[in-house]
């Protein structure tokens, strides 16, 4: 039996009296795209922050490539190959867009002999180009619109050359056309390869999203959580038919 790429065991998080995430366990394989859905306030964002150790879990374990990474520094986790985007985008506002991505290109993980220092700018530009905002590279990040910020966040995450990418609402606030575009890039990214000087390892992905129709097209499996608990893990086709899921989403009346 092989070790799963990411294994989450009984992850739990309390905020004061509130249990935001309760006993969540699941696994993600190296070449999978997994969706994470659930109603507002179900604990999806908290779960991602727990995985990245931005919040400290109350109990439970996160195991990446067979190594327990619970409680390790966020930067270290990123360098082990797990990167994430955030729902609330906080760029380095006064730095140019390109510099925002360059910071990620400077992380130790992306260090490769010789070419490292020389190609930082170029690789940052390639990441921006991949996300479709290369024309804004010199503008300070504070002038970007919401949609562009989302793409900047994606560029920043893929510039760390992750093997597992956690995306928190990558389509949030994007127009339908942009959504299709970004979904396309995600699919290309998942296949892996080189985009200019940017090296993609074809990361596995965990995508939190509300736009189910778009999400269902790109994912292999879906995890549904509600009130911090996993209520279903299944392929997209079955999830939409699941009684618990329908109830959680539409509400008890089933209106």
């Amino acid at each position: 039996m092989t070790v799963p790429f990411l294994q989450v065991e009984n992850l739990t998080k309390d905020f004061g009296g509130l249990r935001a995430v309760e006993d969540v366990s699941f696994t993600i394989d190296r070449n999978e795209v997994v969706g994470l859905i659930g109603p507002n306030g179900a604990g999806k964002t908290t779960l991602i922050r727990l995985l990245m150790n931005i919040l400290k879990p109350t109990a439970g374990k996160v195991i990446l490539k067979g190594e327990d990474i619970t409680g390790q520094k966020t930067a270290k986790i990123v360098n082990k190959g797990m990167a994430s985007t955030f729902q609330v985008v906080k760029p380095f506002r006064h730095l140019p867009v390109a510099a925002n991505v360059m910071v990620a290109c400077l992380s130790p993980k992306t260090k490769r002999k010789g070419e490292w220092v020389k190609t930082v700018e170029l690789r940052a530009l390639d990441a921006l180009e991949f996300c479709g905002i290369a024309d804004l590279a010199l503008e300070p990040a504070s002038v970007l619109s919401h949609g562009d910020l989302k793409r900047l966040e994606l560029a920043r995450a893929i510039a760390t050359e992750p093997e597992l990418l956690l995306l928190d609402e990558p389509f949030g606030g994007l127009s339908p056309a942009e959504t299709t575009l970004v979904a396309g890039s995600l699919r290309r990214l998942h296949k892996g390869g080189r985009f200019g000087r940017l090296h993609s390892e074809g990361p596995a992905m965990l995508i939190v999203e509300h736009k189910l129709s778009e999400l269902m097209k790109i994912v292999d499996r879906v995890i549904v959580i509600n009130f911090g608990k996993v209520i279903a893990i299944d392929v997209p086709g079955n999830v939409v038919k699941n009684k618990d899921v329908i109830e959680a989403y539409i509400g008890k009346g089933g209106k």
């Binding site: 009296g17 509130l18 109603p39 507002n40 306030g41 729902q87 506002r93 300070p140 504070s142 002038v143 970007l144 619109s145 919401h146 949609g147 910020l149 989302k150 609402e169 949030g172 606030g173 127009s175 339908p176 509300h210 736009k211 189910l212 129709s213 009130f227 539409i250 509400g251 008890k252 009346g253 209106k255």
Partner: protein, 250 residues
Amino acid sequence: MSLYLEVKNLSVLYDRAIVLNGLSLHVNSGELVSLVGPNGAGKSTLLNAMSGLIKWQRDTLKGSVSGKITLNGSVKFDGAELINLPAHEIARKGVILCPERGRPFREMTVQENLEVGALFLDKKVADDNLEKVYALFPVLKKRSSQVAGTLSGGERTMLSIGRSLMSEPKILLIDEPSVGLAPLIKDSLFERIRDVQGMGVTILLTEQDVSFAFDLASRNYVISRGKIIAEGTSQELLANELIRETYLGL
């Protein structure tokens, strides 16, 4: 029904990033209108702009937090122009904001929180209002001497609605009332909002939870990227396949 609140061509820019893009909407007297849309569509910004918070941020913080803020357009309420009024004047005219997650004054007790809502009113009126709020939200009465920071999510939302009711509002702007609440609490909050409307208060609320909003409101706006995309009753909007798929995600 008379035209009560009218927003025309409202634009908000943070630096050069457009958050609201020439948005227009109106609310009639006594109506309950909902505003649905995804994260980052500009719902909260709209309510903040209407309640004068954006103007306050522009004048006081001068962009030290999120860059230069530009605010244009017109917000007319009951015939008066609000856009250039300071936030406290707007509140005294009866347009009150209930912020997302309630934002109670954490270190004050529940009763003090409520009293803050009526600071600019006479003591006697304030006491009457307090009675009314306690009658509407018995749970607040039970917790009246508890520090607001210890309240649960649902109680916080109720406290913020109660606090706004203290200032004798004509129109309530409720920001995401149902966010992060359990279904049972959602249901009871649903009833309370109905009660508030029954008291003759006009309500404009924003929601991400479409089913919650559509059940509650008589008319809905769908907002995306700082613009109103569609307007109509719940049935009309749900019948429109395109809107249902792309904007509501149902």
